[in-house]
């Protein structure tokens, strides 16, 4: 059943909080949205409301981690990345064991408009050495990813959606940090997608199939460290590459894959994402349609790209 990855996160920490007493959660006046509210009720002594002060929250999280705790600091992705200086010094440079959880990523939030849409966060986070960046694609993956990240040591950025996502995995799925998750294999084009648009990309691949185009579809849940080995192996047998993400086409997955390809085997690459513009309000469906991140938009861009 479709579920927002933020909701899956809220359920995951509720369970993990039972097992790990060092799991601490901090929120900045958005606990209903980030879905940490249930955790706050169940573990009131391990949940802290910092108010609308994200920089302070991130700093307190760093201090907790330096004293041995495993804090999750949670807010909208845009408000976390807006405090980049604190992330850079207090968290990243210290290698503090803090899990940053940025929800409401990308234009998929819809009506709230550009100010709440983080479209630069992956680019900024990628520029920090040793920062891990993960973006799960559905409920099943989110829960496994959160459990993994709790025992992973070091700074982590987890990017989650406001909108509900259809499942792309079954319960047999096993999340492997740093490894691309191949959902479909085909020789004509490689589609590398991340987060909320993975499902749309799979749908686009099905449409391509009707035209006789066989696509490989990979869910890149770990954007850093990127699975360069998989990309290299794909580049040996596939001529054309496409990246799909709800983020600016600069610096995110598109940027990361462009760098990896040009270091190894240069290939033609189409980056689908927000095309370096300030997006706008609208229903999530209308916004995805206008900016071409729905299955139809993704399909038609790829079709055009393949015809070139």
């Amino acid at each position: 059943m479709a579920k927002a990855t933020r909701a899956a996160f809220g359920e995951a920490i509720l369970e993990l909080g039972e097992k790990d007493k060092d799991l601490i959660v901090l929120d900045a006046d958005l606990s209903k949205s980030t879905q940490t509210q249930k955790f706050s009720k169940k573990f009131p002594h391990r949940w802290f409301e910092v108010g609308i002060a994200e920089a302070n929250m991130i700093g307190i999280g760093a201090g907790l981690a330096l004293a041995g705790k495993k804090p999750f600091v949670c807010s909208f992705a845009c408000f976390l990345i807006g405090r980049f200086e604190t992330i850079r010094i207090s968290l990243a440079y210290n290698r503090a064991n803090v899990k940053m959880v940025g929800t409401h990523c990308g234009i998929g939030i819809g009506e709230d408009g550009y100010t709440q849409m983080s479209l630069e966060d992956i680019a900024c986070m990628r520029s920090l050495p040793e920062m891990s960046i993960v973006q799960p694609a559905d409920e099943i993956e989110t829960k496994q990813c959160i459990e993994y990240m709790l025992q992973h040591k070091g700074p982590v950025y987890i990017r989650l959606t406001r909108q509900a996502l259809e499942d792309v995995h079954t319960l047999r799925y096993k999340f492997q940090f740093g490894k691309g998750d191949v959902l479909k294999e085909g020789k004509d084009v490689a589609l590398l997608a991340t987060g909320g648009v993975v499902y749309n990309t799979l749908q686009a691949a099905e449409e391509l199939e009707k035209l006789g185009v066989k696509a490989t579809v990979v869910n890149i849940h770990t954007i850093k460290p990127l699975d360069k080995e998989l990309i290299f192996n794909l580049s040996k047998k596939i001529e054309k590459f496409v990246t799909v993400e709800d983020h600016n086409i600069y610096g995110g997955l598109g940027g990361a894959v462009a760098e990896a390809l040009s270091e190894q085997t240069p290939r033609k690459l189409l980056r689908i994402g927000v095309n370096d513009v300030y997006a706008e309000s609208g229903t999530p469906e209308d916004v995805y349609k206008k900016y071409g991140l729905d299955a139809e938009g993704i399909f038609s861009k790829i079709k055009k790209f393949l015809q070139k």
Partner: protein
């Protein structure tokens, strides 16, 4: 406080000041003003007040938020026996753990990296909060600069520490009144700072930051305060102990030459 103990602390502070000057001469750059103003407070913390063993998870913690004052902390740790003088003389040189500003990863003796002003008090609060969660008794001390208070994140931290009732947190303001562009009063006045912190529900103590007895009394007073954090306003002199540096803003971020260093050391030893 007995006279003998005070005398020994004074000697420690003197030795630390000498080492700061030596390090900065050797490095050729760095911040003497704010290192010398912080020295007496660091002496009281590390040689008397803090329960400090870097390997003990229950140690008291010291966060140097005004990271540019780190030569004073390196020198203190040499005198306390946790660093070698030979190593701190590599301050600011390539391949050294003695970074220009504290680097926790290279040198875990630094409780946190710092140097971007305004971020340390939040980190110190996280440490104090961890102690509360675990019901441990260690204390967290955080030293901030006066110009640093101009940073917005400081005020977020000033609000949250009383909310979390962090009576195990002590914030010490090294109030030396100077910042790079001029007197703090002119650049962006922070006054009335005592009233501001009181109204934010901190326990505020005002002292002469070079009077060892006053420093120690304030640190012990903080121990007795329940349910709120303590803010110690330590009035200090930038460049304290070296007449030609005292109160001169130009010495905020400039290293002394060999000759100036020798002159400074002679003064400190005679002071």
């Amino acid at each position: 406080m007995n006279v003998k103990k005070l005398e020994s602390l004074k000697n420690r502070a003197r030795d630390i000041r000498v080492l700061i000057i030596k390090m900065l001469v050797e490095a050729g750059s760095g911040h003497p003003g704010g290192s010398l103003s912080a020295t007496d407070i660091l002496t009281c913390l590390y040689f008397h007040k803090m329960n400090y063993d870097p390997t003990d998870p229950l140690r008291d913690r010291f966060v140097l938020s005004k990271g540019h004052g780190v030569p004073a902390l390196y020198a203190t740790l040499v005198k306390a026996g946790y660093l070698e003088e030979k190593e701190v003389m590599t301050l600011r040189k390539i391949n050294s753990r003695m970074q220009g500003h504290p680097d926790h990863f290279r040198l875990p003796l630094m409780e946190t990296s710092a140097g971007s002003l305004g971020v340390g008090l939040s980190i110190a609060q996280g440490m104090a909060l961890a102690a509360k969660i675990d019901e441990k008794n260690y204390k967290t001390y955080c030293m901030i600069g006066d110009g640093e208070i101009q940073e917005g994140q400081m005020w977020e931290a000033f609000m949250s520490a009383p909310k979390f009732k962090l009576d195990n947190l002590v914030c010490i303001l090294d109030y030396n009144q100077g910042q790079i562009d001029g007197p703090v009063k002119e650049v962006m006045d922070i006054e009335p700072i005592a009233e501001k912190l009181k109204s934010f529900n901190w326990h505020v103590i005002e002292i002469n930051g070079h009077n060892l007895e006053e420093i120690l009394n304030a640190l012990y007073e903080a121990d007795s305060i329940k349910d709120k954090p303590t803010f110690i306003i330590a009035h200090t002199v930038k460049g304290k102990g070296v007449s030609f540096m005292e109160g001169v803003i130009d010495w905020h971020g400039k290293a002394p030459s060999q000759e100036e260093g020798e002159k400074a050391i002679k003064e400190i030893l005679n002071g």
